[in-house]
């Protein structure tokens, strides 16, 4: 009897007029639990390609609202780490949590992006055949399922948001230009703009100032520092001047694991770092 009652009840629930069917209800991006002030937990990551250990028991914690710089020599595992966080690569072992509840390893790239993690690639990748405006429109934080996308139209507030970002990245005049026709630096900016317009919680930015003029670099630095606080930003960069100009905390990666962490001054005086970067003679001297 009980079973019948239960199924009747669930049937009744199914047809309640005040509720939408669960599978029709829009999927709200679940809140990111940052009650411990930490937004990213990376623990014990290992990943090897053909015997080469790209990540070796790597641990990293990033506070909510922080601006963190990752530095390290080529092959230190910076890009691989970003690949793992954004779901592009799966590690052999370890865990990555976004907030306290979201296990990123069980999600794919699209899920992770919809949670609010944006990524800028080392080589600028924008949709070259489409206009700057369209590039930004595609990146808007909206329902990204197929049918919804087919019938979606730009709302006035979304247009305002795009205009706002266009101004920030200084491409207002090029809004109807094909993205492929932009200069290298402009493409870098557009890609950052695509991140901004999607309103992310965590930005992963791979070498943002490569190929930029000094002036552009300065503006980028300004932009990134202004973003921190409201959002969390992780920057990978080789340009030490640039890192110095923006960094509060710097993490040094070496051979797939964290070598040192601290302020720029601490890092510069760290023995291990000097040894790795400048060689043993430097330490002896």
């Amino acid at each position: 009897m009980n079973a019948i009652d239960q199924s009747l009840q669930s049937l009744r629930d199914t047809f309640r007029r005040d509720l939408v069917w669960p599978f029709l209800a829009p999927e709200h991006a679940a809140k990111v639990d940052v009650s411990n002030q930490m937004i990213l937990y990376v623990e014990g990551l290992n990943l090897s390609f053909d015997g080469f250990k790209a990540l070796n028991d790597l641990n990293l914690y990033v506070k909510d609202g922080e601006l963190r710089c990752l530095i390290g020599a080529n092959g230190a595992g910076k890009t691989t780490l970003m690949d793992v966080i954004t779901g592009k690569s799966k590690p052999d072992s370890g865990s990555v949590f976004f907030g306290q509840t979201h296990n990123l390893l069980s999600k794919d790239e699209a899920d992770i992006a919809q949670l609010g993690i944006g990524r800028k690639f080392q080589k600028p990748t924008v949709f070259e055949e489409q206009s700057v405006f369209d590039n930004l429109e595609l990146s808007l934080k909206t329902d990204k399922r197929v049918i919804q996308t087919l019938f979606s139209r730009l709302s006035p507030s979304e247009i305002d948001r795009i205009d706002e970002v266009l101004k920030i990245i200084g491409l207002n005049d090029q809004r109807f230009m094909k993205a492929g026709a932009l200069s290298h630096g402009q493409k870098q900016w557009l890609e950052i703009g695509m991140l901004l317009v999607s309103d992310p919680r965590l930005l992963l930015i791979d070498e943002p100032v490569a190929g930029m003029t000094a002036q552009e670099t300065e503006r980028t630095a300004e932009l990134l520092t202004s973003l921190a606080g409201e959002r969390t930003v992780i920057v990978v960069e080789h340009d030490m001047e640039f890192v110095r100009s923006i960094a509060r905390t710097v993490t040094v990666l070496h051979q797939g694991s964290v070598l040192a962490e601290g302020t720029m001054d601490q890092i510069q005086n760290n023995k291990d770092v000097i040894e790795v970067y400048l060689g043993e003679e430097a330490v002896e001297a």
């Binding site: 794919d108 944006g118 690639f121 949709f127 489409q130 595609l138 990146s139 996308t149 979606s152």
Partner: protein
Amino acid sequence: MSKLLHWFSAGRTSGKYTLPFVILLLGITLLASAANLLLPESSALHVSTYSITLLGKYLCYAMLALAVDIIWGYCGILSLGHGAFFALGGYAMGMYLMRQIGDRGVYGHPTLPDFMVFLDWQELPWFWLGMDQFWFAMIMAVLVPGLLAFVFGWLAFRSRVTGVYLSIMTQALTYALLLAFFRNEMGFGGNNGLTDFKEILGFDLQSDATRVSLFIITALLLALVLLVSQRILSSRLGKVTLAVRDAEARTRFIGYRTERYKVWLFVYSAVIAGVAGALYVPQVGIINPGEFSPINSIEIVIWVAVGGRGTLIGAIIGALLVNYAKTRFTAIMPDGWLFALGALFVLVTLFLPKGLIGLYGQLKSKRQTLSTQEASS
């Protein structure tokens, strides 16, 4: 419904040639039909039924080219197996037409098609049941290609099979189907396929009126498919599609499940191919496994390339032109037409990477720069 209409009418400017093209297409269709039915045969302007059937066939091919262009030109998925969806749609229609023959087959069997009597089968196989109903057969004509595309696409795109791998897999798919349909045990008439159709929905397939009607229906459906596709591709979904084509990883990193977009677009394209196949069969009067041959599927891609991929009208023009050339060449120089066809493909890919439409665009922009130069001087 009104919402749908609204969405439809909100098409953007990107397809500014679409409407004139549709009007031109329908105009020619009506003129040709009228010239066939109303003018006497002696008239210089009379259009023979042969030409009407030929045009109808070309339009089916155009629709097929459109289907390939949607996924190749816009989404970057090069399918070398689209002939399979076309043929499946065709077989569904063929099975219906076969059942319509009834007891007028040479053996006079009330339900079994001739080839089954001849293979000594006692009853209809299960998959022939219901095919005597037009509506059911038409559902099958879109459902079977759609389902196959869904299963194949879901498997392939989920595991991120891309590029040439995917092309070769689609080729394997159509090749496997080719071999399967050649088998007489399959119950689709083996190598002979399905033929000797008598009537469709009670209309005699050999009468001029039926042929003209089929031609007009094909033109109308082509126009409809063109408009709908144009609208879909100019929506945000179209932009996502282009994004997938140009930078799939990027698209994924801004939160789109690209595999779902690809699957649905693939299914949509397969359904169009199925419809084209279903329209093709009553007009040419035969469907057989030859349609599954990988070479056929490659040819479709070439029509699109010649016309200009990434523009729907280009695909249509390419299909019409190449097939027209084929008809002409086979009549004028039967021994040499393969040379001409082969050379055409090489030259187009080498010198017209964007097809004829691209050539038109190039000429246009050249003229514009010339005229601005003149104006400035």
